[in-house]
Symmetry: C2
Subunit: 704 residues, 2 copies
C-alpha cells in the first residue's frame, strides 16, 4: 500500500521533512513506513517480521516542558528529534523486540530482544488466524462432531489472551504465548444470519493455540456444572436464540425524534499542531489531542484561560478479572489496553448513530502487522452537549431568577474488545471541570452451564448460558501541571470536633489536610469524607490564601478480589488502591507494566510506588482507579444497557470565584424551546385511558 493512498483528515504530506512534525504529533503514514523500513533493514531480506506496534516515542519531559512553554509564548523552540517506537516479532518465533528509531536522522537508536516471559499484545490479523487454526484442527473437529450439531450450523471461535497462572511457567521454563479459544454456535435455525448472537450458544470445547507455532497445543473441555467435573461433549441441545440485532425485535413505535441543532455551528475550534495531531480550543480550554495504538486518545498540555492544568491525560489500562475459579476460566483476566489496544480497537464512528448534534470527527493512522500505515477513520467524535442547568439563583425578594445552562464538550471514542464495548470520553465544562466517563456496554462473555444449575460466581442469563461475575478496574493516568510542573497530592478529611467549652452542643466539625510525601497507593474513606487534591503549594489563592488545587472526585469501587498471592493481583498492579502517586519517570505510562500479556507482575505502578520516592512538591504522576464489580443481571443480556462511571477533576480554590459566572444567561431567545403541543395533549388522554381505565382521562384531557 503506497502511503500516498492513505486517506487522512488532512491532505497527505507523506514522510517529507519539509514541515518538521511537532514532537507530540502522532506518527504520520510516512513515518510509520520509514520506521518499518529502518527495522527491516536490520534483518536479512527474507526475514518475516510481525510488527505489533509502530507508534510515537514521546520525547523526554525534560525536553518537552521548555519546548511547550516556549511555544505558548510564541518564542523560538529547540528542535526535538522525532522518534518512533517499534515492537515486533520475528514471525513464528518468541523473539520479541522493542526498538526506537530516530526519524529525524533516519537511524535506529536501539533494538532490544525482550524476554523470557515477555510477550506482546495480540493483533487483529493474528486473532483471525488463531480463530481459523482452532476450527481447522482435526482433533477440535472430532470434539465438535460429538455435539452432533445440525447440518449448516456455524461454529465461532473467540480467542482470549491467556492469563498467567504460574503453571508451566517456572523459573526455568518460559511461559509460551498462548490463546484460549472459546467456541460458540450461531443459531442453527438461522445459520445464514452472520450477526446472530453466538454468545447465547456457548460450547464446552476450548482449544488452546500457540501464538508461536500457530498450532492447537491442547483442547480443554469446560466444566458445565456446579463443580469442576469435566463431561465428555455430548449431543448439543439447541435452545431458543437471544438476538440483539434490531430486526429480531418488535421495535417500539412511540419514540418521537429528538434533534440537537446548532444553527451557528459548534463553539469549539479544531486545528492541527502537526499532520496527525490536533489542537482543540473551547470555552477557555485548550489542549492537544494525540492518538496511539494502545491508549487511543491522549490529551497533552491542557490549559484553562492560559493556566496550565495537566501535562498529559489518558486512560492508561484496565483489567477485567473473572470470578470463576475453575480451569481454564481462572486465566480470564484481560488487560484491554496492554493486551490489545484502545487505539487499534476504536470504532469508525458514524454520524447520527454514535453522536448527536454538530459533530467533528478525528481520524488517525496506526500500523498493521506488516508495518504498513493503517488508516483509522473517525476514531474520535467531538461535540457539545447540554448538561442541564449550570447554576441558578432566584432572589425571593425581587423574584428575579438568574440561570445559566451547563454546556459540555465531549471527546468520545468507542472500542470493541471482542464481546464488550467501552464508550470512553473526556468531558469538559464551563466551570473549569474535566471529567473522564466510561460507559460499559456490549455483550457479556458467556460460558455453557447445565440446565437447572445455579452457581454463586455467575448469573444464568439465558437457558444453558452462564455469565460469570467479573470486575472492570480502570486506571486514569493524570500527569498534573496545576499552575506549574511542581505539584503535591494532599487529602482532606472532615472530622467531628470533640465536645468542649468551644463545642458545647457537639455539632462542630473541621477539615484537616494531609500531604502525601512518599510514593504509594492510597484509598478513599467516605466515612471521613476523604478527598484527594492535586495542589501547587507555591501558588496561593489571591482571596483566601489557600494553595491552588484540583480535587479528584472518583466513585467507590471494590478492589480486586483475587488474593494478593494470585497472579491476577500481582499483574494488575493498579487494582488494589483508589489512588497511586508516583514520581515522574519517562516511559512509566502503563500501570500494569509495558507488556501485560501473560505478565508475571513487578513491572507496574505498585513496583514504581515501592521506590518510596519523594512526591511532595515534585514532578509527580497520579493514577486514579475506578471500576465496577459486574454481577450480571439478566437485563445485561443479550446486550447490556450502558453502565456509566465517571471521574471528575474539579478546581478547589484555583479560581477566585465561580468560573462559570460569565456564562451568558439561559434565555428563550437563545434556547428556542417550545411548549408541548395541545393537539398532542389530546391524543394523550386516549392513550392513557387504554392503559389504566381511568374514566376521568378522556373527559379531562379533551378539555385541554
Amino acid at each position: 500500500m503506497s502511503t500516498e493512498q492513505v486517506p487522512t483528515t488532512l491532505p497527505f504530506v507523506g514522510g517529507k521533512k519539509a514541515t518538521p512534525q511537532h514532537p507530540l504529533g502522532p506518527l504520520t503514514a510516512g513515518e510509520i513506513t520509514e520506521s518499518a523500513q529502518l527495522i527491516k533493514a536490520l534483518w536479512p531480506s527474507n526475514a518475516n517480521i510481525q510488527f505489533k506496534s509502530i507508534t510515537l516515542q514521546e520525547p523526554s519531559k525534560a525536553e518537552l516542558v521548555p519546548f511547550l512553554a516556549a511555544q505558548r509564548l510564541a518564542q523560538s523552540t529547540a528542535t526535538i528529534d522525532r522518534r518512533g517506537f517499534v515492537l515486533y516479532y520475528i514471525r513464528n518465533t518468541d523473539k520479541l523486540h522493542e526498538a526506537v528509531v530516530n526519524l529525524t536522522h533516519g537511524k535506529v537508536d536501539s533494538n532490544l530482544r525482550l524476554g523470557p516471559n515477555v510477550h506482546s499484545n495480540a493483533d487483529g490479523d493474528e486473532i483471525i488466524a488463531v480463530e481459523k487454526i482452532a476450527l481447522e484442527d482435526e482433533r477440535v473437529k472430532a470434539e465438535i462432531a460429538k455435539l452432533q450439531l445440525p447440518e449448516g450450523t456455524v461454529v465461532i471461535s473467540d480467542p482470549w489472551i491467556y492469563g498467567s497462572d504460574g503453571i508451566d511457567e517456572g523459573l526455568f521454563t518460559d511461559a509460551k504465548r498462548m490463546f484460549q479459544c472459546f467456541l460458540y454456535v450461531r443459531d442453527p435455525n438461522n445459520a445464514a444470519e452472520a450477526d446472530s448472537n453466538h454468545y447465547a450458544m456457548p460450547l464446552s470445547i476450548s482449544p488452546v493455540v500457540s501464538a508461536e507455532t500457530m498450532k492447537v497445543t491442547r483442547i480443554d473441555i469446560l466444566p458445565t456444572g456446579a463443580d469442576n467435573t469435566i463431561k465428555e461433549p455430548s449431543p448439543y441441545k439447541v435452545q431458543p436464540p437471544n438476538e440483539y440485532i434490531h430486526e429480531a425485535q418488535n421495535l417500539r413505535t412511540d419514540l418521537k425524534p429528538l434533534n440537537v441543532i446548532q444553527p451557528e455551528g459548534s463553539s469549539f475550534q479544531v486545528s492541527n499542531f502537526s499532520e496527525q495531531g490536533h489542537n482543540i480550543a473551547w470555552q477557555k480550554w485548550d489542549f492537544k489531542v494525540g492518538f496511539n495504538q494502545r491508549e487511543g486518545i491522549v490529551l497533552y498540555d491542557v490549559h484553562y484561560a492560559g493556566r496550565p492544568l495537566f501535562y498529559r491525560l489518558s486512560l492508561s489500562d484496565m483489567n477485567i478479572p473473572y470470578a470463576d475459579p475453575r480451569h481454564p476460566y481462572h486465566k480470564k483476566a484481560a488487560f484491554d489496553l496492554g493486551d490489545a489496544g484502545a487505539g487499534i480497537m476504536a470504532n469508525n464512528l458514524q454520524l447520527g448513530c454514535d453522536c448527536l448534534g454538530s459533530i467533528h470527527y478525528l481520524s488517525a493512522i496506526l500500523s498493521n502487522d506488516k508495518g504498513e500505515p493503517l488508516p483509522m477513520p473517525n476514531v474520535v467524535c467531538i461535540h457539545e452537549q447540554d448538561a442541564g442547568i449550570g447554576w441558578k439563583h432566584t432572589n425571593y425578594r425581587t423574584g428575579r431568577a438568574a440561570v445559566v445552562r451547563n454546556r459540555e464538550l465531549v471527546l468520545q471514542s468507542i472500542i470493541t474488545v471482542s464481546n464488550y464495548e467501552y464508550i470512553l470520553a473526556f468531558i469538559f465544562n464551563q466551570a473549569g471541570e474535566v471529567m473522564y466517563e466510561v460507559r460499559a456496554t456490549g455483550i457479556l462473555s458467556t460460558q455453557p452451564i447445565d440446565e437447572g444449575i445455579s452457581v454463586p460466581w455467575g448469573t444464568v442469563v439465558h437457558p444453558g448460558v452462564l455469565a460469570s461475575h467479573h470486575q472492570h478496574i480502570f486506571s486514569l493516568r493524570v500527569d498534573p501541571m496545576v499552575d506549574g510542573p511542581v505539584n503535591r497530592v494532599v487529602y482532606d478529611e472532615a472530622h467531628a470536633m470533640p465536645r468542649s467549652d468551644f463545642n458545647p452542643h457537639g455539632v462542630g466539625y473541621t477539615v484537616s489536610e494531609t500531604p502525601i510525601t512518599t510514593s504509594g497507593g492510597y484509598d478513599l474513606d467516605f466515612d471521613a469524607n476523604r478527598i484527594f487534591k492535586i495542589q501547587n503549594s507555591t501558588v496561593k489563592n489571591p482571596i483566601n490564601g489557600k494553595p491552588v488545587a484540583y480535587k479528584i472526585m472518583a466513585p467507590p469501587f471494590q478492589k480486586m478480589l483475587a488474593d494478593p498471592e494470585s497472579f491476577h493481583h500481582k499483574r494488575a498492579e493498579f487494582a488494589d488502591h483508589n489512588i497511586y502517586v508516583t514520581s515522574y519517570k519517562d516511559d512509566e505510562l502503563y500501570p500494569g507494566g509495558k507488556y501485560t500479556n501473560q505478565s508475571r507482575g513487578g513491572t507496574g505502578v505498585r513496583s514504581w510506588a515501592d521506590r518510596k520516592d519523594n512526591v511532595l512538591d515534585d514532578d509527580i504522576v497520579v493514577w486514579v482507579q475506578f471500576g465496577i464489580n459486574h454481577i450480571p443481571r439478566i437485563e445485561d443480556f443479550p446486550v447490556m444497557p450502558c453502565e456509566i462511571i465517571k471521574v471528575s477533576l474539579k478546581p478547589v480554590n484555583f479560581f477566585d470565584k465561580n468560573p462559570a459566572l460569565d456564562v451568558p444567561p439561559s434565555e428563550q431567545s437563545f434556547n428556542k424551546s417550545v411548549l408541548a403541543s395541545v393537539g398532542h395533549q389530546q391524543e394523550v388522554g386516549e392513550a392513557v385511558i387504554g392503559k389504566d381505565g381511568d374514566v376521568c382521562c378522556v373527559k379531562e384531557s379533551s378539555k385541554l
Copy 2:
C-alpha cells in the same frame, strides 16, 4: 379571592361535587377554600387563624390498594371520602392545631391542639413580616448605627428557623418558636440594585424574633474571629462587591446556540386523573403525579409495562447542619421540607430558561396563611432528554454495529430556600430504571469573618466573608410495590473464595444474598460491594429462577458529623444510615418527624425502625439517604456551579432480557446530525494561533 379566578392548567371547576375527585388528586381550589371554612366555623368569627398548610390527607393504603387495582382493571371502585389535612395557629399564640376535614361530607373529622414543643413550618408571609420586625426594632437600629454604614445603604435580613439546643427548653419549659435573623447589606456603592448579592456583605448583628409575639426578644452579636470572642459592632469596612447577576459580568461571547428540537412533538402523554392530579405515560412507564406543600412532586402507582413497581415515591426531607460550633451558629440545621416546604418554595419555571426542548409544565394550587387557594404556576416541567448511547455492540467479524440512544423522561422542580437552590428531578429511562437527581446550586449561607483569619470549619470565599462547612443529607422515601405490595429488602455482597482445591489460584469470588428481617438502619459497604435490593420473593424470573428485584444504587456520603447526643443528631433521624427499612404505617411520611421546626427528636424514622417490626415479605418502606458534605470552594461563590447527586433504582432479574432491546436503532435519518462546517474549521486555525502561537496552525487548518 374568588376561587373562580384561580388560574390552573385546566378549566377550573371549583369545589363542585359534580365530578368526584380521585382519592389521590391534590386538593382543588374549592376544596382548599372549603377546608378553611370548615376550620373557621369551629372558632368565634373574630378568631384570627394563621393557616400553615391545607393539603390532601391521603387515604389509608388499605383503602387505596384495592381502589387502584380495580381502576387499572377498569372495574368499578368503592368511593373513598376526600379528606383535607389542615395545620393552623391561632395567630400570635403558640396554639398549633392539626385537623382533618372530611370534604365528602363537609365535616371536621378531628381537630387536635399540638404541643408543647411542637411548632409548625414557617410561611412566606410570616418570613417577610419577621424580616421587617427585625429591621424596625429600635435596639437593632441602635446596633446597626454603630456600623456607620454609608448613607443609602440597604440592610437585608435573612430569618432562619431556630434549631433546638436544649437551652431554655427543659422538661418544664416550653421551647418558644423563634427566628434567628442574619443581617447583610447590599453593595453600598450600588444600593439601587435590588439584586445585588448581599451574601457578600454579612454583618455581625443577629436579632432573634419570637414567632409568637412577633417581637425582637434578643440581639446576638456574632463571633468574627477564630474563637468565640464577641466584639462590639464597629464601623463597617466596605469591601468590593461579588455579584452573580449577568449584567455585572463580562459575559463570554463565543458560546453558540444549541437547540433541542422535537419536530413531531414529545413522546410522553399527560392527562388528568383528577382536577389537579396528572397521569403520565411514556415508553412503557405510567404513573400518577401529585404535588403538595411539603414534598412538592409525589409519584404514585408507578408501573412499567403494566407491572407495579412503586406505590409512592417522594423526597421526604433533607437536613443541612452547619459546622460552626459557636453561638448562635450551632443552631443552623435546616429541614428544608419540614421547616418550609419543597412545594410552597417551588419556582415558577420559565420556558427556555429552566428547561430545554419541548416542554410541558404542570401547575399546582396550594394555600396561603389566610386559607385561600394559592396558584403555583409551572412548578413542574416535563421533557425528554438524550442521555448519550444506551447500548452498542459491533460484531468485529462482520463489522456491523447495532446501537441505540438512551432517551430519558425528566420531571423537574426547582426550589429556592432563601440563599440556596435545589433542582429536584425524577428521571426515567428506557431500560426500566428510575433515578432521583438533586442539583445543589444557589448561594452559600455566609457570615462575617475578620480579615486575615482562617478557620477549619469554613472557607473564606470573599474578603471578610466566611462560608461554613455544612452537610446536605437527603432522604428519598420509596414505598415499593415490586410486582406486588409484599416485598423484602436484601443485600448482596461479593467475597473472595478461600484458597482450596476448587480455587487453587486464589482468583474466585462469589456473591451472597442476605435478607433484612427487622426494621432498622443499614449501611453501604463498598469494600464488600454491598448492594441493597427490593425484592419480591414470591415472583421468580422465568429464565434463571431468581426473585424479581430492583436494586438501589446510592452514592456514598459522610453520615451526620454532629455527635449522637447532639440535638442535630437526635432530630435528623435519617442522617445516620444509608438505608432505613420500616414496616408501612399510614402517616409515616417524614423521616425527621411530622413537625421538624425546633423538634426534639423521637418522632422520625429512627424511632419507627426501633419498633423492630418484621420487614421480611411485608408491606415495607425503604428510606434512601444520600448527600454531600459541602466543604465550600471559593469556586462556589457568589453562586455555586451545580453539585449533582443521583440515586438510581435499577431492575435486577426483573425482566427476562435487556428491556431497552426494542428501542429503535440510532440512525442518521432519525437523529439528523450534521458535520461541523469547514468554514467554521477555518476560523479556528486563526483562533488557535492567537492562543498558543503554534506556527503550524494557520497553514494546516487553512488546508481544510
